[in-house]
């Protein structure tokens, strides 16, 4: 510390936050301002000749009016996927933290193993697995789980399944971190104090794992509600999410102002929901 002070002067703390401030300005504040200004620009411009910022609030009104069903669908799909991730992830994280013994590290590596291949490739392979004449659909038809013309690919089921699959590790890791920190002796203390196994879970383990639950659900829900790959590859036109709309507005329609307005709305919506959620969970101080 003293050495630092000699180099940077008395207020070395201010110097130390310098790199972070520059980083934030370049990679966060600047693109954000650019997005905001585009969203308020005259849509008659073009990406090539540029847009003029005219405080065009009408863009927002149109974005909400035209695309609100996609918004709702996104939140709905992301919500279901998050819930499924929570149920699957909690069980697995609990098992790894308390029951895995010497297999702990192997299991953790397996959880992150999917990251060794690209997100896109993995989602594409689900497309093959769920294909109409693939072995899975054929077997389900044979078992009469699916009807004669039933299918898995291009259904909401496939999209939600894809989201759940892709974001599951983001749920498991924070949950594991929180669960692993819980002293197993607290569980014994609860047993000693007349708690049934279920009460031990609800009164001790669950409350102590809340930071992980909040962290995991945020890391799952936020990217899932903005995702468009899963719907693109595994869905159909009726499963389009807001991410798909933003993508087509940017690329196919080259309508940057409406795309930007839609992005801003999605962002505000999510930030609002997250704040509300964190308040409700009473875990501000744990985050």
């Amino acid at each position: 510390m003293e050495a630092l002070q000699r180099v940077f002067g008395k207020n070395s703390a201010y110097w130390l936050i310098g790199p972070a401030a520059v980083w934030l300005a370049v990679f966060f504040a600047f693109p954000m301002l650019s997005l905001l200004s585009t969203s308020l620009s005259d849509p008659s411009g073009s990406p090539i000749y540029g847009y003029t910022m005219t405080w065009e609030l009408q863009n927002y009104v149109e974005a909400v009016g035209d695309y609100w069903p996609y918004m709702v669908r996104s939140l709905w799909y992301a919500g279901i996927a998050t819930l499924l991730c929570l149920i699957l992830g909690y069980t697995l994280a609990y098992a790894i933290a308390f029951k895995a013994g010497r297999w702990k590290n192997v299991m953790l590596v397996l959880v992150v193993a999917p990251f060794f291949t690209s997100f896109l490739v993995r989602t594409l392979s689900w497309k093959l697995i769920l294909a109409d004449n693939g072995w899975l659909v054929e077997s389900l038809k044979w078992l009469h789980v699916l009807g004669e013309d039933g299918r898995l690919l291009a259904t909401p089921f496939a999209v939600i399944m894809g989201l759940t699959y892709n974001f599951l590790p983001f749920m498991i890791l924070p949950l594991y971190t929180s669960l692993e920190k819980i002293d197993p002796r607290l569980n014994e203390a609860a047993a000693d104090l007349y708690s049934t196994p279920w009460q031990r879970f609800t009164k001790v383990i669950w409350p102590l794992s809340l930071p992980g639950v909040v962290g995991g659900t945020l890391l799952t829900f936020i990217p899932a509600s903005g995702d468009y790959i899963n719907s693109d590859l595994l869905g159909n036109p009726n499963t389009q999410m807001v991410g798909n709309k933003i993508q087509t507005l940017f690329t196919d329609a080259s309508d940057y102002p409406h795309a930007a307005a839609l992005s801003v709305i999605l962002m505000v919506l999510i930030v609002g929901m997250v704040l509300f959620y964190v308040r409700r969970a009473g875990t501000e101080d744990l985050l």
Binding site: E188, A189, D192, Y194, S195, L208
Partner: protein, 383 residues
């Protein structure tokens, strides 16, 4: 309803045995009866199986063989949450997400008492924690956390309260204060306390009965006075305080009944030991005498003790402690023994190193142990 409402009674361990999955036998066929309402201490060195025993009683560890009863009720295989037993854990294990009041009301709530406010208040007052009721455990000092752990268990008024080295994490001064406190609380609530410790002073000052445990077995059980003055093994003799052990050979017996004594030859001097303090049938034995029972006097001056005195010893070390003085004395046969002398002022100074002294003790204080046992067993390294 649960066993927690059952009738009270003595805690009875019968042939209690624990073999861990790795094959290690931590507790070997333990037989123990702990009377209802007593303050019982389980004393032994680290790793002797104290925690394992408590965990079996609490239901946190499976019993390999044997049984556990409270009164007439068998609880050997009952689920931990169905036993009328509570534990004060070695590391307290307080719930970090709950306030002190919530920690304390945890047990009563699980037993279906909707609003245990009054009993919480009462127990917090008893353990002097009223001010801390709405704090979280991390905001408390070690001593306060210890009392929360105690209050959290006590409020349930268990038939048996298990305390696993509850004072182990506290510094010496606080530990002494809490010993008095714990004893007061036990007398006030009248529950059976089973207190595990490896601190012999703690066990002796607090407990009505002390069981000395070694390598998974009970070596000896009794009131502190009985254990200290009449140890049955070298382990107990050394683990509870210090002992001088001198080789001797039994040469005869005299008297009968309570007055019977065994005559033991000790390098040429014959000592008499009460038959009730002789714990070997062999010809050879260890004569045990506590250092504070050893009396010394510079050669030629008269010694205040009946019986024979041993001439020809030399003081080799003097360590002045203030309240007392520790003398190390080389006996004529070369062995060094220890003598603690109260500094009553009678002597008007210390006996200097190199002084020739006569050594004696009152015969009723000596005991005779099995010479096959290790004279060093149970010696505690001073920490």
């Amino acid at each position: 309803m649960s066993l927690a409402d059952g009738v009270r009674g003595d805690l009875k361990l019968t042939g209690l045995h624990k073999r861990y999955p790795n094959g290690f036998v931590a507790v070997q066929s333990l037989d123990l009866v702990i009377p209802q309402g007593s303050f019982f201490a389980l004393l032994g060195p680290s790793g002797c199986g104290k925690t394992t025993t408590l965990r079996m009683v609490a239901g946190l560890e499976d019993v390999t063989k044997g049984s556990i009863h409270i009164g007439d009720q068998e609880i050997t295989h009952a689920k931990p949450y169905k036993r009328p037993v509570n534990t004060v854990f070695q590391n307290y294990a307080l719930f970090p997400h709950l306030t002190i009041a919530e920690n304390v009301s945890f047990g009563p709530k699980r037993r279906g008492i909707k609003d245990p406010k009054d009993s919480v208040k009462e127990i917090l007052a008893l353990t002097e924690l009223t001010e801390q009721a709405s704090k979280k455990p991390t905001q408390l000092s070690g001593g306060q956390q210890q009392r929360v752990a105690l209050a959290r268990a006590l409020i349930n008024r268990p038939d048996v309260l298990l305390l696993d080295e509850p004072l182990g994490a506290l510094d010496l001064k606080l530990r002494r204060a809490m010993q008095v406190e714990l004893k007061r609380i036990q007398e006030e609530v009248g529950l059976t306390f089973v207190h595990v410790t490896h601190d012999q002073e703690e066990a002796m000052t607090m407990a009505d009965t002390v069981a000395v445990m070694n390598e998974g077995r009970i070596e000896q059980l009794g009131a502190p006075y009985e254990l200290y003055t009449n140890p049955h093994t070298t382990f107990v003799a050394n683990f509870l305080g210090r002992t001088n052990l001198i080789k001797g050979t039994v040469v005869g017996r005299e008297g009968s009944g309570a007055d019977e004594v065994v005559k033991v030859d000790m390098y040429g001097t014959v000592a008499s030991i009460k038959a009730s303090r002789v714990h070997t049938d062999a010809k050879e034995g260890w004569i045990g005498i506590r250092p504070e029972k050893v009396l010394i006097q510079p050669e030629g001056t008269s010694i205040d003790a009946p019986g024979a005195s041993l001439p020809g010893a030399v003081v080799t070390d003097v360590s002045y402690i203030g309240v007392s003085t520790d003398y190390t004395i080389r006996m004529p046969w070369g062995q060094e023994i220890t003598c603690f002398e109260q500094n009553t002022g009678r002597r008007g100074g210390l006996i200097p190193v190199g002084t020739k002294v006569d050594v004696s003790w009152r015969p009723e204080f000596a005991f005779l142990l099995d010479s096959a046992q290790d004279a060093e067993a149970g010696i505690v390294e001073e920490d």
